[in-house]
């Protein structure tokens, strides 16, 4: 099949010459396998897994929060160049947008629903591992549903042999009901000959919490999107993304926190390194909707550029239709500072080693947050190997 998907719409369009308003995934001449979610190991108690859910089933799961979203009257017009209406048809708004939904449905991708039962706080993670062979073109979809006052941790790994070619497209949708918490970890180390997209969309109800950790280290080209609707009052979204792009790798991402409830809190951190001829486009948006009084949001981007041939595009957006909010963005983009290098060299570390040390330090500052020592070690080994 051949197809072009338009994804990662910036929530408010800007100058066309920046070429960052959206992105396109060209899917050419591949045979897609729509797979069930490969949950591995023993399932922790209090967690249930249901395969083969339909989109209709998913609509039912999100029905009550979607009604609540629809009931929120936004009297204030959207921003200039508003792209929000483009994704109105989604069951859950995701970072990459409606064309991923349509593609998944067109390819009949079965949805796996992983649920934490009401009141069950489960610390043992649910492990999901996509292991791709050469030529595999896989699509997968799952919904993580944390029912009232529950807690669930899901760790997803995408791996392959270094020279395998193929395609991996994943969509993960999250619902954290009142007082619930979802910890989602994604680690991607697939071959640079593979193309990858990873789309996340979530809804947080009252006092709920979504914590996401995302390590994007492999794939020739990756599209990543994550949109969390902070619907309820006092809910939280924390995201930590680490990425390492080298050779001709490309990473195109779109993160959005839609803050609707009162006293919501979003905090997004992005730490990355670009080497060789890597290209990265970062879109990060804090969207304070009317009625989100008392909310705070912060997004911080820190990018280390280690080659004269890299391209770094950054679009840090703050949209605001509410007076009583505090929104902040900070970005620091550049090469290793002379002071840092001088310090390293005075300790007997040459420039090349100093750079490797700083790359590892950045990646490990995110990896260390993963609640699984074996995966942290695998990440360290992977970085050591590719450097």
């Amino acid at each position: 099949m051949s197809k072009v998907l338009k994804v990662n719409h910036l929530p408010a369009l800007t100058y066309r010459f920046l070429k960052s308003n959206d992105s396109e995934i060209e899917i050419k001449d591949i045979e897609i396998k729509a797979e069930k979610t490969p949950v591995t190991g023993e399932l922790p108690g209090g967690i249930s897994v249901k395969d083969d859910a339909t989109e209709e089933d998913i609509r039912k799961i999100f029905k009550s929060v979607n009604e609540k979203i629809a009931a929120k009257k936004l009297d204030i017009p959207g921003p200039n160049g508003d792209t929000m209406p483009l994704n109105d048809a989604q069951t859950v708004r995701t970072g990459m947008g409606v064309e991923i939904d349509s593609f998944m449905q067109e390819m009949n991708v079965p949805v796996t629903v992983i649920s934490a039962e009401e009141g069950q706080k489960v610390s043992q993670p649910v492990m999901i591992r996509y292991e791709l062979s050469d030529g595999d073109c896989v699509l997968g979809s799952q919904v993580i549903h944390a029912k009232k006052d529950s807690e669930i941790t899901v760790i997803m790994e995408y791996v392959s042999e270094p020279d395998n070619g193929g395609f991996l497209g994943i969509q993960t949708r999250l619902l954290a009901e009142e007082g619930a918490k979802i910890n989602l970890v994604k680690v991607q180390t697939i071959s640079e000959k593979m193309v990858h997209f990873d789309d996340i969309g979530g809804v947080c109800d009252d006092k709920a919490d979504i914590e996401a950790i995302n390590m994007q280290l492999g794939a020739g080209h990756t599209w990543g999107g994550c949109r969390v609707t902070l619907l309820g009052d006092n809910c939280v979204f924390n995201n930590h993304t680490g990425y390492l792009c080298r050779h001709k790798q490309g990473y195109d991402m779109n993160y959005v926190a839609d803050q609707m409830g009162k006293k919501t809190n979003s905090n997004m951190v992005f730490r990355g390194v670009l080497l060789d001829e890597a290209v990265k486009t970062f879109r990060g948006t804090l969207d304070f909707k009317a009625g989100s009084a008392g909310s705070v949001g912060d997004e911080q981007e820190d990018t280390l550029l280690l080659s004269p041939d890299v391209i770094n595009r950054t679009m840090p957006v703050i949209l605001c239709g509410e007076e009583d909010v505090d929104g902040r963005h900070g970005a620091s983009i550049g090469q290793l500072g002379d002071d840092t290098l001088f310090y390293m060299e005075s300790r007997g570390i040459d420039e090349e080693s100093a750079k490797k040390l700083m790359i590892r330090a950045r990646m490990e500052s995110i990896a260390r947050m993963i609640p699984d020592e074996a995966i942290i070690i695998r990440i360290q080994q992977y970085i050591r190997t590719i450097l």
């Binding site: 408010a12 200039n80 770094n312 505090d326 963005h329 970005a331 550049g334």
Partner: protein, 469 residues
């Protein structure tokens, strides 16, 4: 409350809104719309050289092909068939203030232009609708070789070759739809040339007044500051409010040559029926410096993003801007910078205030090209929301194509802190005065960059907005 503040509150916005009736006997008005026939008539009226007539027609062709951008404020209510591209007084431009027709003179007297000229300016140009009605430069400045004249005189006079060389080369008509429209129907504006090494100690100012209802103003400003020279140019604009849309699609092209410095200050106070679709651009050569100071208070809708191209090594720019979006306004403003030369640096600092349903959008781009080694940029944008029926959006973009760059960006959106208001009220200020004082403080980084008279005007405009004036 101090007497000083009372005086501020008492300032009457109506001075900007006085409508002077333009009768057929004294004014010539082109029929509405933008057609080839109209463009030919304008060209004829203005005795354009052949190349300019061709340029206008080509621009019109481009205008008809280009679409409006999909990212900015809505312009659906701007019916181009109801806009007159050219309105002028039947009187010629004057070099002496007393020769300017009485009704036009009265308008500018009310706005304080001749007074400002006497007190603090090296020269003044005053445009009324589509044409300059007055232009004068102080003898001592003219004696330094500084040229400050209207564009039409420059186009056909001594500087015609220079105009031909530079006109719309920095902002080509293909740039966007309203740049093309400007190329087709431009009229009025100023030409400035500051010779090598000349430092103009006090500012030049052009003031643009659009008095006619349903009209467009398309003035062109071309400034060349030659090597080692220095100039501060001030641009002011206003219009009375009408119930029909007015259009301003001016174009400013600034050339800052090696080691020169240009400061371009604008206080924009168009009426709130104005579509301000203006384009400004500066080309900065080696070791030169461009400074923008920009205050946007008026207009119904604005698209305004002055662009600086740091072409030469060691060139730099600084942009300081404030936008105050009140009731019924959608002001989409910001800045663009392209780093091309080595060791270039840019600093963008903006403040945006939204109130009473106004929409304020800060939009910017920073591009650092591969060749721009050792480039440094710092962007800081602060937005203040004064109520929950307004919008404040921040949409910056950065495109960095070398590792040898240092990029810093920070943005903040927030409200006036209750603690600050409480503190000022405990010192005897009313809540309204306390809030006005805090907003003035928020705008201080911009007002301190303006000459005193203009800083006072800006603060007055802020206080008028805050008091719902």
């Amino acid at each position: 409350m101090s007497e000083n503040n009372k005086a501020v509150v008492d300032i009457d916005r109506r001075v900007y809104d006085i409508k002077d009736v333009e009768n057929e006997q004294d004014f010539y008005r082109m029929e509405d719309g933008f057609t080839e026939d109209i463009v030919r008539k304008i060209s004829e009226e203005k005795h354009d050289p052949e190349w300019m007539r061709e340029f206008r027609l080509k621009s019109l062709e481009i205008y008809n092909k280009l679409e409006m951008p999909d990212w900015g404020p809505d312009t659906d209510d701007l019916d181009m068939n109801l806009i007159s591209s050219y309105v002028r007084s039947k009187s010629d431009m004057k070099g002496k203030w007393e020769d300017v027709p009485e009704d036009i003179k009265n308008t500018f007297e009310r706005l304080g232009i001749p007074e400002a000229e006497r007190e603090s300016l090296a020269g003044v140009g005053a445009q009324y609708d589509s044409e300059l009605v007055y232009h004068n430069v102080k003898d001592e400045v003219a004696a330094q070789g500084v040229v400050y004249t209207d564009m039409e005189s420059a186009l056909t006079g001594e500087y015609s070759e220079m105009v031909h060389e530079y006109f719309m080369k920095l902002v080509p008509p293909t740039d966007h739809k309203y740049a093309a429209l400007h190329g087709a129907v431009w009229s009025g504006g100023s030409f400035v040339y500051v010779p090598k090494g000349v430092k103009v100690e006090i500012p030049l100012q052009s003031y643009f007044r659009l008095n006619a209802a349903g009209a467009g103003q398309f003035e062109h400003t071309l400034i060349i500051v030659d090597e080692g020279a220095d100039l501060h140019f001030i641009e002011g604009c206003s219009a009375p409010k009408y119930n029909v849309a007015n259009l301003h699609a001016g174009c400013v092209e600034l050339y800052v040559k090696k080691n020169a410095r240009l400061r371009y200050s604008t206080i924009e106070n168009w009426s709130k029926n104005m579509y301000n679709l203006n384009t400004k651009r500066a080309l900065v050569e080696e070791g030169a410096r461009m400074e923008w100071v920009s205050g946007s208070f008026g207009s119904h809708t604005s698209y305004l993003y002055p662009m600086t191209i740091l072409k030469g090594d060691h060139s730099n720019m600084e942009y300081t801007g404030i936008t105050f979006a009140g009731k019924g306004q959608n002001l989409d403003t910001g800045a663009k910078v392209i780093h091309q030369g080595k060791y270039t640096s840019s600093m963008i600092s903006t403040k945006s205030i939204s109130k009473s349903g106004g929409i304020g959008t800060y939009r910017s781009s920073v591009t650092i090209n591969k060749e721009a080694k050792h480039a440094k940029t710092s962007v800081s944008c602060d937005s203040l929301m004064l109520d929950s029926i307004s919008r404040a959006d921040t949409i910056p973009g950065m495109d960095i194509r070398t590792n040898d760059a240092d990029v810093g960006h920070e943005a903040k959106i927030g409200r006036i802190s209750d603690e600050a208001v409480f503190y000022l009220m405990s010192r005897g200020l009313s809540e309204e005065d306390a809030r006005a004082l805090i907003v003035s403080g928020f705008a201080n980084p911009v007002s301190k960059e303006l000459p005193l008279e203009y800083a006072v005007e800006m603060n007055n405009l802020i206080k008028l907005e805050m008091s719902g004036g």
